[in-house]
Symmetry: C2
Subunit: 198 residues, 2 copies
DNA sequence: GAATTATGTTGACGGCAGCAACATCGGATT
DNA sequence: AATCCGATGTTGCTGCCGTCAACATAATTC
């Protein structure tokens, strides 16, 4: 057995991890559309068909990156909310962490939300919903349990929209140059929403 | 002369428009990654190289779709704000129209914000900024001129994030089934932001 | 130590983007 | 009206890609 526990594997070392890393670098370089399995294999120093021993196809590799990303995002969100009691403060902290994550791991983020995966992969979907549920819990404390889902959507929408606009190059570059700058803009935007309403 | 005025053109009729239409349909079918110029040519009933008489390459076709989309979006936004005087009402109306547009023309919207275009195409970029400036004007009336840009970003972020999450299949399907349902959710989300803050 | 399984390689096939050489059509020139 | 010429469309090619099948080799298990 030990099918999946391939720690320090056979020929290469850990080709699966190397391929994931290569793919992320490749996406950062040439964008998602410029990603090719063959180039990943080249970067990892193996032949062009070797990846198929670790991923059923190209989509499977992308799904693995998405899962990794959702896992990192959940962790970042939890860490940001840790120690905060006020629900509104927790939601803001999550939103800021969300944007910071997107700018720090843009390749992962793009793959997570690219809608380019043919089959609605259940694993990636579940990972996304797990990250989302973090929001809904705190939203319930703000908006009441009956409209928690709606409030969760509302508080997901702002950081997600901001992150997408940033990764799409739609924001002034100085706001996306560093994770800190991006987080600062996220805080400002959330502040606007707090102030302009009544 | 009359290089660009190809009204009722030569052999095909209007291959350029037919290709754009075919591409939009193709994206709706198989997603952006599944788009191929050759398949568009097949749909239009021409040979695989004919598209190159109308578009320099695949990216150029996508840019044309993006421009078309930004033009439609601007028009929809202007129409939605028409007759409204209260700036906050104008911003809400724009946001709702934004989401409605995304659900009505998902292929266009995906291409507009796909970040898969290699060169930062200046035409598409200008078209996007024109649509954005519609927001900033009304935002200035809400937040004051000095922070109009920030307020514009804030009011862009919500509909954009919601639209992206919808097109990515991250919202319950009943909210994205029809443009009306999507617009209703957008209105609700904007309402949450009006109520939960202080 | 032998059998088995996991991992990697080579070579092939079909599809796509893009280019070049050729063919044809339609309007403009004379 | 005959001609020319540019705009449009076709055929065929090259190189890259995703994927599969057949083969080779290395690690694990018995």
């Amino acid at each position: 057995m030990a099918r999946k526990a391939k720690r320090k594997a056979y020929h290469h070392g850990d080709l699966r991890a190397a391929l994931l890393e290569a793919a992320v670098a490749e996406i950062a370089d040439k964008g998602l559309h410029g990603l090719s399995l063959r180039e990943c294999a080249r970067r990892a120093g193996v032949s062009h068909a070797a990846p198929y021993r670790h991923f059923a196809d190209k989509d499977a590799l992308l799904v693995a990156i998405a899962e990794e990303g959702f896992s990192m995002l959940s962790q970042a969100g939890r860490a940001a909310m840790e120690g905060l009691d006020d629900p509104r403060a927790r939601l803001d902290a999550y939103g800021i962490a969300y944007v910071r994550f997107a700018v720090t791991y843009p390749s992962h983020f793009r793959v997570m939300f690219t809608s380019e995966l043919d089959d609605p992969d259940p694993l990636a979907r579940a990972a996304g919903e797990r990250a989302f549920s973090l929001l809904v819990d705190s939203a319930a404390a703000v908006a009441g349990p009956e409209s928690a889902e709606l409030a969760g959507v509302a508080f997901w929408t702002v950081p997600h929209g901001l992150a997408m606009l940033m990764l799409d190059g739609r924001m002034p570059p100085e706001h996306t140059a560093t994770p800190e700058a991006a987080a600062a803009l996220a805080a400002q935007v959330l502040g606007v929403w707090r102030e302009t309403s009544r």
